[in-house]
């Protein structure tokens, strides 16, 4: 039973470029974009997307991370997890267009927690969601606004995202 690569490094780069363009388009020329990635790899992706956006249209975006450990709905089910840092850009999120970024969208619970965390930091004008991979099987009414790749999968399968900054290589694999 071997892992199958569904996105190679070039595919990932292309997907992130496309997402960056789509996000800028949806902005319709006004508003401050804040990309907040969910650690660990969501935060890495948020940085990458923001850099691409900044190349295309400088000065309208910033990036940070939003840790959701303390907002999870399953805290009591496993030993206590250590939170990762939350870094909100200095201008904050009030009245901003916040784009939550994560690597894989699955049950939707992580994003639910992220929304709760976000609300405790301020009041964005609008919140969007960008993910590299949407693998289906939602347990909550959550959908992504920007998707790198739709990847139908069985719940028994395991989807893994690797990024250069964290894992040394860029690829997305699925294995039974």
């Amino acid at each position: 039973m071997v892992a199958r690569t569904v996105l190679h490094d070039a595919d990932i780069t292309r997907a992130l470029r496309r997402i960056a363009h789509e996000v800028l388009e949806s902005r319709r020329g006004e508003g401050r974009l804040v990309f907040l990635g969910i650690p660990t790899r969501g935060a890495t992706l948020a940085d990458r997307i923001q850099r691409i956006v900044d190349e295309i249209e400088p000065g309208v975006s910033s990036a940070g991370s939003l840790d959701i450990t303390l907002y999870r709905d399953d805290l009591a089910k496993s030993p206590t997890r250590t939170p990762a840092p939350t870094r909100i850009p200095a201008e904050g999120i009030d009245d901003a267009i916040v784009v939550l970024v994560d690597d894989v969208l699955y049950s939707g619970r992580t994003i639910r927690a992220a929304l709760d965390a976000l609300v405790d930091h301020g009041r964005p004008r609008v919140v969007r969601l960008a993910v590299l991979v949407d693998r289906g099987h939602r347990e909550l009414p959550i959908r992504a606004d920007f998707v790198g790749k739709n990847l139908p999968s069985a719940t028994s399968e395991r989807v893994s995202v690797r990024l250069v900054e964290v894992d040394g290589a860029d690829e997305v694999t699925i294995e039974p």
Binding site: L70, Y71, R72, P79, T80, L105, D116, H121
Partner: protein, 323 residues
Amino acid sequence: MRHLLSTRDLDRETAIRILDVAEDMAQTADREVRKLPPLRGKTVVNLFFEDSTRTRLSFESAAKRLSADVITFSAKGSSVSKGESLKDTAQTLAAMGADAIVVRHHDSGAAHQLAHAGWIDAAIINAGDGTHEHPTQALLDAYTIRARRFGAGARGRDLAGMRVAIVGDILHSRVARANVWLLTTLGAEVHLVAPRTLLPHGVEHWGATVHEHLDDALAAAPDAVMMLRIQSERMRDAYFPSAREYARVWGLTAERLALLGPDTMVMHPGPMNRGLEISSAAADSARSTVLAQVTNGVSIRMAVLYLLVAGSSGTAEPTGGEG
């Protein structure tokens, strides 16, 4: 980690982890909404057999900021003061559904007993037991030193290479004991200063350098000087001739303050006896971390409560997660 009874039980990794989580907790103070949800629905009981407004308020504040329900049970005017035993009090709290008990008691070993006697199955946090230990105080002191020294780059660091002097009634001080074990675990060099009458038997085995004169310890150029309160209520007999003599030989006077380096921290767990162990000049100087220690106390206690109460009571950290 099921209980926090003593800093002696913390290894380097766990200690750093607590300090790092406290950094996350500290951030919430700057937010719009200063509350976090992880202890929602959990009950934290403050069981204070000994009077202590500041520590009790600090724990209350920490628990509330994590959305826990807080019940405070202090000795005066309670069934405890009417002679109810520790065992009966513990079992009553268990029957009321406490998830964590923060306990301060005048007898050494009380927290250990609550944790191991089998009377209650809650997380036990030692907020000071007799002259034995005060782990959250040591943690907030270490956090304060680390934050002052490394600022934004403090995360993940220990205190290797730093020199800390602890001055005062070491014999009766649970703050001193807790600090010696933790600072040593974090790699700091500890210096103890006290007249011989205030040094415990066997202190030479504690892994710290012992001085009988404050001037000797200051000559070693410490990064932080921690002054302990002279606890007159604990003394049963004359350990030194007079307050005046104590202040002269072991007090952090304005003269001694002037000899300290500009970055040397002046610390005190509070409450202070101004003019006895610490001069007003020292207490109010820019080097003083006294107020920061109080603020950091809430963050540390939030970190401890989160780590002990939020998860299930297992020991291994889970790996990976789902989206």
